[in-house]
Amino acid sequence: MRLSKRATWLLRTGVGLGLAFIYVPLIVVGIYAFNASGTTQKWPPSGLTFEWFPKAIENEAARDAFLTSIKAGLAATAIAIVLGTLAALAVARHRFFGRETISFLVVLPIALPGIVTGVAISNTFTQVLGVSLGLFAVVVGHATFCIVVVYNNVVARLRRTSASFEEASADLGAHTWQTFRFVTLPTMRTALGAGALLAFALSFDEIIVTTFTIGAGAETLPIWIFRNLFRPTQLPIVNVVALLVVLLSIIPVYLAHRLSREEGGAAAGKGGRATEAEATAVP
């Protein structure tokens, strides 16, 4: 589009301010992790120190919470990979009654507020099934809203690759499983990887569904932060853990983005990139 110099300049400033708005809080959290004034959170910090890092690593509750988060994330991601891929294969490669409904059903757990999923699962577990809350309930909740992430990535990839490769494989005498193993799976491998990484990041970071499903005993890392941030003496450690959480959730997202761009992105050009961006945009 032809824009006047002034309009372009205005837009650039707007984008710059927008990016600053997005990143300044994350940077501030990062700086507070090195805060030498410890429990007082006055800005600017009186000095910077590394002393809170060993203390955070030595904190047993935080370490347990970290392991719980990893466990919950891995389990939820595993379930989401299987269910998301199956649904994507059905929707992208077959025609059947109610196909549109599947997409809607998969999106629903994130289209509705997380608190609804949380309360629904909590009520079902305690009131109907008589199962107590805990890590298992957390995994069920996380897997439910992670399916969409895997599904979206895989379905976008399958839609861009023609089914004729699979037909050719079948015509050449490969059976269903061989076609999947040697044709379909390699095609969607990176999309699947990206979906899995995003699902893990989403689970690792989640707190609302988790609050309602975890019960009294266990803690995930976000729950640990939430329970400790009102205690002034714990704040320096909370800040360090917060920085670690930012890094740990940004890395998988970045890798996922690289993965989903590797194939398709270069070949499909700008339009392809938009579809890919869209696939990752739906949280």
Partner: protein, 295 residues
Amino acid sequence: MAAEAVAGKRSVGHRLAGLFQGRPRLQVGTLLAGPVGWLVVGYLGSLAVLLVTAFWSVDALSGEVIQGFGLENFEALFEEPVYRDIVGRTVGVAALVTLTDAILAFPIAFYMAKVASRRGTAILVVAILLPLWSSYLVKVLAWRTMLSNDGIVNWALEPFGLHGPGYGIVAVWLVMSYLWLPYMILPIYAGLERIPNSLISASEDLGAHPLTTFRRVILPLSFPAVVAGSIFTFSLTLGDYITPRLVSNDQFIGNVIFNNITNNQPFAAALAIVPIVVMIAYLLVARKLGAFEHV
């Protein structure tokens, strides 16, 4: 011996695979059994449980759940002014946050889709994507620190003789607009990307002022994408209880649900119906406006 075992195994695999050959219905059924089972039985099932338990009640003395149909929860919800205020406040802030994000997101998305170089676009997409996925709680925590009395906001405003909003409803609006901004930028970017440049050129060649082109061509074509983004900003605001808890003393629907979940689960369930109803209404309108092609 070993070779025989392998051959035997393979033939089972072959036979199983052969079962699916030329039977598309069986293929679809097998593919869908897992995901549909999980989502319909597990997820929709627990939503149904939520709906049913919303009509149960809690014995005032023993605190035990009475599993019988009753409208007490909904009566309380509609008749007590406190809850009416809370619902109004939550929906109001959700609308305000959505509007704010749409206004903030549009220029950024427009720059990404139509002005920046390909490389610039790629960098911006990553820059917007990264914080979208990461550390929701940490971001709220960051704002709690920044908006505190000794925080960076007051420190930055002090030379101008100004004072930040502190904790309160303004802080909730600000923080939520911050949190959900990337969710608005990306759908609008994708929507703008789909508008063929030739349409914009045609409008320009026909002598339209850039603002006219924007108003008459770009805005109508990208509006469904804005609505698509608003589904997220609206829904996420409706269900959030952490932000109000950390940067204000105001009660939102989520806070009341959270406060009731241990002692009065039926009432918490009834409250959780409110965001469901609001979101269903919102989704129906969004579908009318064509947003679903953009989600």
